[in-house]
Subunit: 266 residues, 4 copies
């Protein structure tokens, strides 16, 4: 299990959330509180939007806590929409292309969770990626495959719908043939304008997800960045947080209850 | 295009061929003579057999010429059958799992060449890998996919036959639908006892391959390790060098001429 | 010998000079024209000034040509004063702290050249670093030691004078006791406002240095970034290029001729 | 604080102690029990002796727990005398030359501890390194400087005496001028034949040290490799464990009590 933060709001330096807070993402890389993997030392990444329509990426296989470059970049890079992620690998190698966030054209995605029984499901999930996006599969993680499947399911027109459809397909794969494999999917998706964060699971509990809004913007996190827990709002299971340009933040169910239950009971 | 060496014979330290000769593999990483890529600085790897039935691997993303670990390992590791490879990447990322050699159970494989139009053919080649070997696909190169396809085609029973069958399937893929994509396949395969080296191409010229035999053993190389070219024998195109335990070295065609021509004319 | 570029002018993205030109710094990392080391694959670095008074740094041990992070950063980081450097190591290990540029408080420095017979002179050069700056010696290169010696010699008050005094001390060390060791010093120094570039040598020829001015700013380079050599002005030996805020670019001798000759004749 | 193991005895594969035990060094890299730094993820290293008189080294900046190369090497490298170390850095950068063990000619050294107030003492400790060994200072750690100082103090003739003399000099530096800086020195030193392990401190408690002897050999560790603590003997403070070829293991004080007290009271 990994830890991540996503921000959308006024343009600020990344250090505000990545390196400076008492329980910053860097300090979570050393010791997370709400995770089965207390340490997240299997690589990390930053993704951010600036003037260029496509996001920037900085991903490294070393732990975040000892990377000098990361501190310099967080101090100097300014963005209105950025992602940061520290990884606790669940089986795939520690390589840069396997570190989050993942980028494809204007899109950024990062994930905390897993597709259970990846050996059984890998080919099936990869088959959800359309041919024209398959060259963008430069790593081997379940997370990257799910990201490209979501893009292939029509994220451009309807990001939440495309994600729900993909989760629905994944849900059926997990349970088909009498299997009861689990999915944990706590993720963030953005296109440079809008930010979406998802909390979902099948046959398992969802990983934690919180957010905090202020006049400056919204920050969405795996776990609070400080001990003032009153400031942080828990995102309910089976929910999407939509932080869109020019609109108030919305929390909605990802799937209708009936659909979600059907998956779990299949 | 990459450069590699393979050795089978008396147990020696790896430095004899990897680091010491005038035109050692390390010096080829800086400047190769017979390659379109004069520099091979996109990672490297060692694979070797010792007392354990499965081979050892050391792979790194840094260039071979500046890796201190490599010099120590070549001085200290002794083996009767080893591979060394310096990489010039042809599109896939510079990660350890994308560096050669590749290992799977008792098998080692390394490759100099490419599958042309990898974007078009990648899924088809990956489909040649049987389900039980797909978890061993930890990287994203064409070379690793072809290796696992060869293992899936029955390398255990008949390494040369399995390789020929796989090349034949690849050949048809390259040329189907009026395509004329190229394959260059100059590779080495071993199981700890026997060593095979292949020189083959479809719709293209084969990459260079040489060998030298002595009372100590056989060394097979992308290009000679010294300027005494008289000592090195050119492996003909469409040929396999078989260096098997207790047998004389044999050079045979990989495919019957008719089959090879059929591929090219398809 | 390394290759580098330094820019001062309007705020632009780093890609304008680091990755985009026909003979960009990245392409020089693969094949430089005017250098004894045609390849510069022993790590690289970026240093730049933004809103924070201290510069940002990104340094990596991998070659510049295959670093995906570098391409993203050059596309997204904007600066009015930046350095980029590709390294060909002359004996010290390939580590991040040994990659250029070096940063200390508001200062940036990078270097192409060497202090000859570093084994003999290392302690003496390190002794030029004042105690309060010695904790900033986090690497082991001759270049970093000279940088800290220059800062210790009063760069804050008089950057050119401090550099000249340090070169003068180095010159005496090289020639004392009947030695005739060489120094090559083609370097850049900046404080966030002003940029200085030096071309100097003792007992040897200076490494090449060029610059080009436009309405946008000045770019100073080890070798031209394109084949239109008419656009590039050669910096004479024993010269400093001073590109200061609000002033016209000036080229001056670093040392009076008499002093320079005295060093060489010592 | 770091964790390490040293072995001397019959020739075995490194995996016996580095990767296989319940609380192996790898598992200590993730979670150590007897250390203020519960995690040791700032690089690691192996050093071993084989047929070559000089030791082999494998050092990496990534954490030990995720390094595939390490598992292959531990399975394949066999040695009668080897060191393994996982690092928790105390201020110096995470580079390969700053990872333990350190090698110089036939000698290997590794260390768990620190020289307190390194900024104040660094130059003084470096001044203990004789000129002819100064080129071997390729990193910037206190540990490497102390190692080279010990070699310079006559380790070849008398390893324990040279270490005691160096510790004595360090002790005076720590306390001179009314300072009360601390030294923790729990280290291992070997020349390919004999193995010495030291547990010592000035103005502080020593870091933990244990050993276990069997007919196969001796293994000396920062903390026990299994929960059967009865099998492990605590090395007393101010002691050296001498495991010399053809001799029984000896435990002796490093300094006479009077000398040790004089240091602390100075």
């Amino acid at each position: 299990m990994c830890r991540w933060i996503a921000y959308r709001g006024e343009t600020i330096t990344l250090e505000h959330y990545v390196t400076e807070p008492a329980h910053s993402l860097i300090s979570q890389s050393i010791h997370a509180f709400e995770s089965t993997a207390s340490m997240n030392g299997d690589g990390f990444g930053l993704g951010w939007y600036g003037e260029h329509p496509e996001p920037g990426l900085y991903r490294e296989v070393r732990p975040a806590w000892s990377d000098e470059n990361l501190r310099y970049l967080c101090r100097h890079i300014r963005s209105h929409l950025f992602f940061a992620h520290v990884r606790a690998a669940t089986g795939t190698p520690i390589t840069r292309p396997n570190c989050h966030p993942f980028a494809c054209a204007r899109w950024l995605f990062m994930h905390n969770g897993f597709v259970g029984n990846w050996s059984r499901l890998r080919r099936k999930v990869e088959a959800l990626i359309p041919d024209e996006l398959y060259p963008s599969r430069i790593g081997t993680t379940d997370s990257e495959a799910v990201f490209l499947a979501i893009l292939g399911a029509g994220a451009k027109q309807d990001p939440v719908g495309a994600t729900a459809r993909t989760l629905s397909r994944l849900g059926r794969m997990l349970t088909e043939g009498g299997n009861k494999d689990a999915l944990r999917f706590t993720s963030a998706l953005a296109d440079g304008r809008d930010l979406y964060a998802f909390r979902f699971a099948v046959n398992d509990q969802s990983n934690s997800l919180y957010y905090r809004e202020s006049s400056q913007g919204i920050v969405i996190v795996s776990e609070p960045l400080d001990r003032e827990h009153g400031n942080w709002i828990t995102v309910p299971e089976n929910s999407v947080v939509a932080a869109r340009a020019g609109k108030a933040v919305e929390i909605r169910p990802i799937m209708q209850e009936a659909d979600a239950m059907a998956l779990a009971d299949a």
